[in-house]
């Protein structure tokens, strides 16, 4: 360091891409506690409520009408799904909103300035975490609730058509709602606001739409994310819900719309 001569430092470096982005985002999501807390809460609340609701319903089967009993299917072993979805949705929000609240987004973007790549890597990593949690919730709920039903001579055989699909549908719904939360968080960039929006979409909006005149309320209600997700775990056709496939498509449509809008804004806005 005795020379004062200017020596421009240039190095030939390999262009970084999706592989590095995924590597980094995975390291990011597994090194904060909120991932573990929300993941754990999703599984515990999902499985726990499914078991409690199964216990409550099976102990009161005699009080149900024939109509109601006809509707009992495998979805009754996974009734904690709605609440599990809420919590995983919060994780989806946090994954992006915490970057804005802490300012980390500016550091992230200086490492990965190609915004589309950063956002996709985040979404993919979140989807993996969401799917893991979803599988735990779905299978945990089904397996832990089943004994209450078999004790009442009701069984949900996985070899029967639709039952296996319903369990995987529940897992998939959890994953998709994580992405839905991610979309909302990316649009609003604010934790409290995004969680409020998510809760509103899941709990308030369905109630509001039910006040609409005529069949409007019912029709619009089917499109609500919570109901589209519920459609995915039904094994019979309920006029109040879409078919499982359409439920999946509606949920995917929500995500595509939200993420597309979020992506366009992310590209355009200053970080």
């Amino acid at each position: 360091m005795t020379t004062l001569e200017a020596r421009p430092i240039t190095k030939a470096v390999k262009r970084v891409g999706m592989r590095e982005a995924l590597d980094s985002e995975w390291a990011k999501i597994i090194t904060v506690r909120s991932t573990y807390w929300t993941g754990l809460a999703t599984v515990l609340v999902g499985v726990g409520l499914s078991v409690l609701l199964s216990l409550a319903i099976t102990s009161n089967l005699s009080g149900m009408s024939a109509d109601q009993r006809a509707k009992v299917d495998i979805s009754f072993t996974m009734l904690g799904l709605d609440f599990a979805m809420m919590i995983i949705g919060v994780l989806g929000v946090l994954v992006i909103s915490s970057e804005y609240s802490t300012g980390m987004i500016r550091t992230s973007l200086s490492a990965l300035p190609r915004r589309g790549m950063l956002m996709s890597a985040k979404a993919i990593v979140l989807a993996v975490i969401g799917l893991i949690c979803g599988l735990l919730v779905a299978w945990g709920s089904y397996l832990c609730s089943l004994p209450f039903w078999t004790s009442k001579q009701i069984s949900f055989d996985l070899s029967s058509s639709g039952n296996l699909r319903a369990v995987f549908g529940a897992a998939l719904a959890i994953m998709l709602v994580a992405l839905l939360g991610f979309g909302i968080g990316s649009l609003l960039r604010h934790t409290a606001g995004s969680i409020s929006a998510l809760l509103g979409l899941f709990f308030v909006a369905p109630i509001m739409t039910s006040f609409l005149p005529g069949t409007w309320g019912k029709d619009i209600n089917k499109f609500m994310p919570s109901n589209a997700a519920h459609a995915m775990i039904l094994t019979y056709h309920d006029p109040g819900y879409f078919t499982p496939l359409n439920g999946l498509l509606v949920l995917v449509a929500w995500i595509v719309i939200l993420l597309t809008a979020a992506f366009l804004l992310f590209k355009k806005r200053d970080a």
């Binding site: 430092i9 240039t10 390999k14 590597d23 980094s24 802490t102 200053d270 970080a271």
Partner: protein, 343 residues
Amino acid sequence: MIQATGLTKRYGDRTAVDQISFTIPPGKVTGFLGPNGAGKSTTMRMVLGLDHPSAGQVTVNGMRYDQLAAPLREVGALLDAKAIHGGRTAYNHLTVLAKANAIPKRRVDEVVDLVGLHAVAKKRSRGFSLGMGQRLGIAAALLGDPGIVMFDEPVNGLDPEGILWIRNLMKALAREGRTVFVSSHLMSEMALTADHLLVIGLGRILADQSMEEFITQNSANYVRVRSPYMGELGPALAARGWQVEQQADHSVHVHGANAAQVGDVAGDANLRLHELTLIQSSLEEAFMRLTADSVEYHAGTPGVPGGPPAALGVTGAPLAPMPPTAQPQAPTPEAAPVWGAGS
């Protein structure tokens, strides 16, 4: 090398950066100096592609930031030390960044040792002091061993030891041939570190010159004299070839002479003096004069509308007692420069 051409950023009808052009060459510390709100941070954010320019462009090694193959290996930036997730440990934070740009893991250990964060590397950064956060930010900036480093107000909130460390680091990085671009609102700080100055005010470049040029152009000294016999003394001083200026408060400013020379002239002529003061215009004052019209927020200074306190940078004590009213503006301790850049 950082190059901006016609770089402009508007927020609504407010222009934060107004068509600035500059080149930051390697091998030097280039100081980016300007008052608060001058557009320094906005400019730096545009270099990193965080903010999109309203017009013009800025390139890094000839490319837009988002076109760089591995940005952290070419540019290391510390814009905001608090721009980290507090729930992540320092080590994990650096690992996340290293992975994003395919930087080997051992480099994380290297920079942790380099900035002296070894003891707290496994702690979550939420509990870090300002200085520790700043060191972590610098570790992140040096992670990719970049040829360009960019620091926004790096000494803010640091203790004297930390300030010295950063100064030496920046100089060492420049000596190694790297491009060092550092912003500050303190002229005194720049005078100690920068080789080249880029002065910005209200989004416009006010000066782009070497530190030496800036110093020779802006550090003017003069002697302030008061005497009841000014009618005789004035011509006597002027006869020596010194420039003598009559002031509104009946004092006289003598340029080109030192206090002893002026005192000798008065003594030889048996003319009593009521004041003989050497006034050194500091670089801080020169900087304030340069940016006086472009300061966004003026503190209400009674008697000196819109300008810096007139007596800032005054050194040397008056030889004769003066009535307080005769003094144009008392030097305030807060306003006095910490490092006498001009002395």
